[in-house]
Amino acid sequence: MVRYSSSTLDRTFAALSDPTRREILDRLAEGPATLGELRRPFDMTLPGLMKHVRVLEEAQLVVTEKKGRTRECRLGAEQLDDAAQWIETYRRRWERRLDRLGDYLERQKGARA
């Protein structure tokens, strides 16, 4: 059984639970952006945007780099690996269960025939 850091998963999924934060990640998937560039497509206040970026930064889904007086944001997708692995483990478990259900139904059909 793969062990996951529960606090890391908590942070990752909490950060991903907000549609605006997922949109920010979508934007950063196209390339790095400063706060000024990030804000343009979003109809939200500056403190609101900064709060979302901070949550993503704390979850390490976004890393920032200071450039002079500004700060550039880019994806820090390593944390998504843990979440993807966690989901994959459950996907496989369910696949095995469905396989076993299929086997069972086949046997039932054979027994009735």
Partner: protein
């Protein structure tokens, strides 16, 4: 419209926050993004005096900020006109009003009001840079509150 207002509360007296905000020795903690960043500062703390800060990674051209003080009222208020240089080399002027309010003994509310941005875009860019500066100020005042400051 294109104004920026920031607030932060620090667990120390206004004098410590005021001094750390302007002290050239403290600027590295405020402006460096990594330990190897080069930060140099000079501060002539009087009305009409000049305050310069240069900062950036080693080897590259530093970002430069030059200000002229319009209000020096230690430890309550600081006013200055800042010329900030952006990564693309363009620069612009804004007015800054910084207040250090003692909310309770050993508890200071720092308020920064920065006005006169040419565009909201520039305002947003600068907003992205302030939090790490205010975090750095927090580290300096915490260290100074914990023990005597030895320059």
């Amino acid at each position: 419209m294109s104004d920026l207002r920031l607030e932060r509360v620090y667990a120390t007296d206004p004098e410590t926050v005021f001094d750390a905000f302007t002290d050239p020795d403290a600027q590295k903690e405020l402006y460096a993004d990594a330990p190897d960043w080069v930060v140099t500062s000079t501060c002539d703390l009087r009305v009409g005096g000049r305050w310069t800060i240069e900062f950036g990674p080693p080897g590259g051209p530093p970002a430069r900020e030059t200000s002229v003080f319009t209000v020096v009222d230690r430890p309550h208020r600081l006013g200055y006109v800042a010329t900030m240089t952006m990564p693309d080399g363009t620069s612009f002027d804004t007015d800054l009003e910084v207040t250090f309010e003692e909310e309770a003994p050993g508890r200071t509310r720092l308020t920064i009001l920065q006005t006169g941005f040419p565009t909201t875009r520039l305002r947003d860019e600068i907003a992205g840079g302030w939090p790490s500066i205010l975090d750095g100020l927090g580290r300096v005042v915490a260290a100074r509150a914990a023990g005597p400051h030895r320059p």
